[in-house]
């Protein structure tokens, strides 16, 4: 499913841990950087940078960031990975959905600095030398978009829906939460409700996901 998860880390876990250890050693006992007042001065804020190693689509990146930088802004503004879209920037639309350690999240509602050592997949990492990811191909085949702005988030979310379903996760559409859920259209719609499509391409989005589900079965 998530092909990048099989690739070796570009930045080693050890390196990340080393960075983390230094940071935490500075963090606590007698750390002069800790803020005693209620706010940081402008001078403090401008010096307040953190270094973070991010593993994105199988490649390691080291960024020096203001800790306020969201994962979404790190991807778009610092790494040029503009496939991940900024819609609402408050977790309501799902356009910024990326896959972190195999699970979909809203990249607008998390800080880049919190993802040291995590494995991230974005829309840019889904296709490989053999062609499009099956979900991308299904979206094209089913014309599951109009303007396309929500599509990277829809596709990342849909791939993770299949992972969640394979893990046996129930949804609100599962009548008996203790049962093994079957991915009916109602289940797909419920599981995809965190991705809004302003063009309302929902019927074709559901059809594209259903195609991939049925392709997996055969």
């Amino acid at each position: 499913m998530n092909k990048s998860s099989d690739r070796p880390l570009g930045v080693t876990r050890r390196r990340v841990l080393e960075v983390g250890t230094v940071a935490s050693a500075l963090s606590f006992v007698g750390d002069s950087r800790l803020v005693q007042a209620d706010t940081l001065s402008a001078a403090e804020a401008s010096l307040n940078l953190v270094t973070v190693g991010l593993q994105i689509n199988g490649r390691g990146h080291t960024l020096t960031l203001d800790p306020r930088t969201t994962l979404l802004d790190a991807l778009r503004e610092h790494l040029g990975l503009t496939g991940t879209k900024k819609g609402c920037d408050q977790g309501q639309c799902g356009a910024c959905t990326v896959i972190v350690n195999g699970q979909r999240i809203n990249s607008c509602l998390t800080l880049a600095v919190m993802h040291a050592g995590d494995e991230l997949s974005t829309i840019e990492g889904l296709a490989n030398d053999d062609g499009l990811h099956p979900m991308q191909a299904a979206f094209v085949r089913r014309d599951a978009l109009q303007c396309g702005y929500c599509t990277p988030g829809q596709i990342c979310s849909a791939i993770a829906v299949l992972t969640e379903h394979k893990a046996g996760w129930p949804s609100y559409a599962t009548a008996d939460v203790a049962s093994e859920p079957v991915l009916t259209d109602a289940e797909i719609r419920e599981r995809m409700s965190g991705n809004i499509c302003r063009c309302s391409a929902y019927p074709n989005i559901v059809a594209a996901i259903r195609d991939v589900v049925e392709g997996d079965r055969t």
């Binding site: 935490s24 606590f28 800790l34 209620d38 706010t39 998390t110």
Partner: protein, 327 residues
């Protein structure tokens, strides 16, 4: 967003010590906190990332209940087979909230401590006693259809937004915490939330630096469980009203009932009135309506949310009808 110092903590007691300093906050999933920081409603100067702390896992307790680590995500909790088999209303409630993406980040502890979604708490151009104590409450005369009808006074009518906490309230969950001075305590979930009073900005009894470590569920009480949520959309919307109910009954009568409401108060609202009305009552619509009347007898609407009072009664009736399999 205001600048802050970020610390990724690897030690629970030092995390609590740091977070006890002024203007400090723990961050776990961050799905609510980061949103509020962008709006500068939350302005921590120190952000203590607790995601590396050993606060995960769902394990059975010696009393055959469950201990849920504070960092267990909403997704993981809802999908856990022990929860799905023994506490299905908790899975249902969690799955009724937010979206798949948000549930993957949101944690058990953070869900309990999420802030209200009252629109005037978010609108920094309007007065809000929860955001700025003493400034007034714009919701009183405003668009208050999402606001509370029970247990609140005129200085703040914000509703607690959690679904998960409503199920946990029906289950008599207990919250285990660690304070900055190393002290541990166990708080019944119904005692976690503070009535708005004159300080609606202070929402829980937790002290600065006090960290939720885990939530303990006692063994499930006898009876069938249900979580029923009524909202504006079929998915991904906050509750107008929700009901968590657990009912044990024989052929004709209720033996034991637990009832908690969501969306109608500053906290998940456990209704002792509904429960005592139901105890021993016949399995009829009349009994369920009597329970609803008892539960809502002190309710007060503020205009746009008047509809919540009959809606809460009817949602309770529907939940009880379904959970008892009666008509």
């Amino acid at each position: 967003m205001k600048p802050f110092h970020y610390e990724r903590s690897s030690d629970i007691s030092s995390a609590c010590a740091v977070a006890a300093r002024p203007a400090s906050k723990f961050i776990a999933g961050g799905t609510n906190l980061i949103d509020l920081m962008k709006l500068e409603i939350e302005t921590p100067a120190n952000l203590v990332d607790i995601n590396a702390l050993p606060l995960g896992g769902i394990e059975e307790t010696s009393e055959h209940g469950l201990r849920i680590g504070a960092l267990v995500t909403n997704s993981a909790l809802a999908a856990d087979m022990k929860v799905r088999l023994k506490y299905p209303l908790l899975s249902q409630a969690i799955l009724a909230g937010a979206s798949g993406q948000l549930r993957n980040k949101a944690t058990t502890g953070g869900n309990l401590l999420q802030r209200t979604r009252c629109p005037y708490f978010y609108d920094t151009t309007k007065p809000c006693n929860k955001r700025q104590p003493g400034s007034g409450c714009a919701a009183l005369e405003g668009l208050n259809r999402m606001n509370a009808v029970l247990g609140v006074r005129d200085n703040c009518i914000a509703a607690h937004p959690s679904d998960m906490a409503v199920a946990m309230t029906a289950l008599d969950a207990r919250i285990e915490t660690l304070a900055a001075d190393g002290a541990t305590r166990t708080i019944p979930i119904d005692g976690l939330y503070r009535a708005p009073g004159d300080t609606p900005n202070i929402e829980t009894v937790l002290q600065p630096g006090e960290l939720i470590k885990s939530v303990v569920l006692p063994p499930p009480p006898p009876g069938r469980q249900i979580y029923r949520k009524v909202r504006d959309r079929a998915s991904y919307a906050f509750a107008l009203v929700s009901v968590a109910a657990i009912v044990a009954h024989d052929k004709n009568h209720v033996q034991d009932a637990r009832v908690a409401f969501g969306g109608i108060s500053y906290k998940p609202w456990r209704s002792a009135e509904a429960e005592s009305t139901l105890s021993g009552a016949s399995l009829t619509r009349l009994s369920y309506d009597a329970a609803g009347t008892a539960a809502l007898k002190n309710a007060r609407g503020y205009g746009h949310n008047n509809f919540k009072i009959p809606l809460a009664r009817r949602t309770l009736r529907a939940a009880l009808t379904e959970v008892t399999g009666t008509i």
